[in-house]
Symmetry: C2
Subunit: 236 residues, 2 copies
Amino acid sequence: MQLSALELASLKQLPLFARLAPEAFERATDCLRLETFRVGQVICRQGDAARAAFVVVEGWLKLSRVSSWGAETVIHICSRGRSFGEAPALTGSAHEVSAESVSPSLIARLPSACLAQLVSEQPEFASALLLSVSAQVGALMDEIESLKGVSVDHKVAHFILSLCPASAETWRFRLPYGKRLIAAQLGIKQETLSRSLGRLRALGVEAGETSREIAISNVQRLRSEVAKMTREPVRA
Amino acid sequence: MQLSALELASLKQLPLFARLAPEAFERATDCLRLETFRVGQVICRQGDAARAAFVVVEGWLKLSRVSSWGAETVIHICSRGRSFGEAPALTGSAHEVSAESVSPSLIARLPSACLAQLVSEQPEFASALLLSVSAQVGALMDEIESLKGVSVDHKVAHFILSLCPASAETWRFRLPYGKRLIAAQLGIKQETLSRSLGRLRALGVEAGETSREIAISNVQRLRSEVAKMTREPVRA
DNA sequence: CGTAGCCTTGAGAGAGTTCAAGTGTTGTGG
DNA sequence: CCACAACACTTGAACTCTCTCAAGGCTACG
């Protein structure tokens, strides 16, 4: 499959590819395939023998696991730039997570053989991949941090802020996926999320309207309120 | 510093080094340094410019973070074989976590320069390092899984089982670190851990004696009880 | 032997869950 | 185009598990 110039440009901006020399970049893109997924489609399943690693180019993916006691756990929701499945792809072992598209998405598939070859022949690529996996480590650490010892309001506000550009004063956007899933990601119940959003209204977070629209009147203020929120919830 | 034959043999069994050809192994060990730490000593501090990555050879380390709102969060407790700090070491950025020894420990330090050289010149080592970082990802996923939607008793039982050999029938051992820290790792309070251990006595977990000794009368049974424990706590 | 830290135990309060009903939104077929 | 069903979300009330605060016992170490 030939990639369009537009697609190549988009790939070139991903952390995994950004620092590659033109030649190495070409070798990498030569063997990857772009695939589109609709909401609900599965990219890979936990337990399947891995035949590729994946990089999210556009959209949002849910990485989840079914624990030994049979409950589904959302491990992480990832978007543009994040990669996953490298280790299973390299060793040929089973995928540790299932990946499901939770918005229309565009995914780059890196077949195992190609991946192994790139790692062994392009030190540049090996470094980039290493950093990409390390970025996952960082993301998971953030997740753990937010799961532990923080009130629900804190988690929710933090989540919303993570969707705001760092410099924005006021911000209005659409949640990238449903509230049920957001709740699962934060390790709380949907009802609890709903109530928390209600409380956050006092801090300038409007979540009414078409139900997925969020408007933050003052991002900076919200940030500082969150910082103060060591444990206390927002009181009416 | 010259490494003893014993030390070399020990290193050779770590996942990071096990699959290296003798030559690559030698190059790797040539530039690493072994260091010992006592309980409470700090290996690296969050925010410090990274000058090395680390591999745990013996003992237990606490990886923790101070969140933006000032609370310490235990990210992970790691033991023999686990590595950390690769990405910061390679990019020269700041360490994302603080690492503190919570038992007497032996740590291999891989200086940045050496690490970068190994990655670029020894594809074999680059692959091994990639898998080592991926192992961290797996460990953190386990952590997230246990933090979400599981009762305290479940977490505690699961934690104890993680310290049992897979095949053991009955098992008796010493907790590798204090209960306060175990509680922090599981995202609960010390008091809650204490009460949970009390309840688990009904499932054959004896935690009395010298206070750090644990005896499990029937590991298989405990495992199956845990599997049944989808949500329900252990009732008296 | 005494102090300090670790652990346990108790009682009370509070945050989040559960169960249940109700409202709104979306998409489909008549 | 509307009716209907399915699904997403909200809201309320009762409950329960975990946390908090506090006291007491045990262990370790000087």
